[in-house]
């Protein structure tokens, strides 16, 4: 009976070790790009009061990375405070301008945040410049990007004096997969399902830097 008890105890120990090994925390996977983001060197594209910026995230450019969410990052190259009125992410069928879904985008659960760029907890490296861009991570959205769609991230900057002095980090070369256009005196964040994304000429992206898994 003693032998059986010893064998049972040894087996229990083995089971415990095996269980602990299986439960070991997996390697943390760093955030991955969903598309090729904004690539420097950067210019500073300034003065954004009462402007909308429309940035295309083409489904054709998606990197096949598994993700359950989408995280957008903004880049500021100048300014002390950015006052955003609204941010949205429109979905269209690939190559179509008709909106099929509207997803709100927030920062700190706020869709109209004021971002204090002069605060080192927001922008650790001061002052902001084209070689010291402040990267702001927006809240994750539950939207999972699909290669069968295109996506348009739109941000509207309120008509405030603060926005007159902010700068968008804008790549000087056309190496990124995302691209933007902008329009003054227009708030394009209020478009609804079934309406169309206005057409315009795209150039290298303004503000939107990265589209990532986290």
């Amino acid at each position: 009976m003693k032998k059986v008890s010893k064998f049972a105890a040894f087996t229990l120990l083995l089971l415990t070790v095996a269980y602990c090994s299986a439960a070991e925390k997996p390697k943390t996977v760093p955030p991955a790009n969903l598309v090729r983001g904004a690539i420097g060197p950067f210019n500073s594209n300034n003065e954004w009061e009462n402007y909308s910026v429309v940035t295309l995230i083409p489904g054709a450019s998606l990197i096949p990375v598994t993700s359950t969410q989408t995280v957008l990052y903004l880049g500021f190259s100048a300014g002390s405070e950015a006052d955003l009125t609204n941010m949205v992410l429109y979905t269209t069928a690939k190559g179509s301008s008709t909106i099929t879904a509207v997803t709100p985008v927030t920062l700190g659960s706020n869709s109209s945040p004021s971002i204090v760029l002069s605060n080192t907890s927001v922008c650790p490296t001061q002052p902001l410049s084209v070689t010291s861009v402040c990267i702001v991570r927006l809240d994750p959205t539950a939207l999972v990007l699909s290669a069968t769609n295109d996506y348009y991230f739109v941000v509207y900057f309120a008509s405030t004096s603060n926005n007159g002095s902010i700068g968008a980090a804008q790549p000087t070369t056309n190496v990124s997969a995302i691209e933007s256009w902008y329009a003054g005196n227009e708030n394009y964040t209020t478009l609804t399902v079934g309406s169309s994304i206005p057409s315009n000429s795209f150039h290298t992206p303004d503000f939107l830097m990265y589209v990532m898994t986290d």
Partner: protein
């Protein structure tokens, strides 16, 4: 009774072992196969035909590897491949990788690279050991994969590969294998002098105009 207890415990042990093995491999036990990796690009490398630049004695090339372009391949190491389209011997003084925060030009880390254990290799382009297909030409470039570098590329950083060619006559005639057009994620620029000496806290030199690299071709996980 003893036999029954022992058998039960043994059965538990076997079942647990199978369960653990199954979980570790991530596939049904009957389909379990050892984990393997395949050669994967960490970013989109260079393509196209070679440019026509010569006279590299005493010059450096710096190539940006943007974190924003990384594919998300899980790799703790990186392999850098450089390419040549002409020449007989290439004399390299140093090769390094600078790490910066993304969209920032301040160097936060410097990693030295080497080829076959040498940080300042002379590469004989006429040797079939280095360049199996002879002669090396624009349509038959020689690709040199450097020794594995302990650089884990993450999207929250940018990386800059810098190579400095020794100031000697042999570097007059060699040419890079890239550079005629921009069709990848990498960009490169050239600077007269040694840019392999930037310390942590130093800044990446200006000059990136979005041109394709002349020497850095690929960045892979193995």
């Amino acid at each position: 009774m003893k036999t029954k207890i022992a058998s039960f415990v043994l059965l538990l042990l076997v079942a647990t072992t199978f369960a653990v093995a199954q979980e570790a491999v991530g596939a049904p036990a009957h389909k379990a196969a050892p984990l393997t990796t395949v050669l994967s690009n960490l970013t989109e490398g260079a393509a196209g035909t070679p440019g026509n630049n010569v006279d590299w004695e005493g010059w450096s090339e710096i190539d940006e590897i943007p974190g924003a372009s990384l594919f998300g391949v899980d790799s703790t190491d990186s392999y850098f491949t450089i390419g040549f389209s002409a020449g007989s011997t290439v004399n390299i003084t140093s090769m390094v990788v600078y790490t910066t925060a993304r969209a920032n030009n301040v160097v936060t880390k410097v990693t030295k690279l080497n080829y076959l254990g040498k940080a300042n290799p002379s590469i004989d382009l006429t040797s079939t050991t280095n360049c199996p297909n002879q002669p090396v030409s624009a349509t038959n470039p020689c690709l040199i994969k450097l020794t594995k570098a302990a650089v884990e590329m993450v999207a929250s950083n940018d990386y800059y590969f810098a190579i400095y060619f020794t100031s000697d006559s042999e570097n007059n005639t060699m040419r890079g294998a890239g550079g005629s057009n921009q069709s990848g994620a990498l960009t490169g620029w050239q600077i007269d002098g040694d840019d392999g000496l930037i310390p942590v806290g130093g800044t990446i030199p200006v000059g990136d105009a979005g041109a394709a690299p002349l020497f850095l071709m690929y960045l892979t996980n193995e």
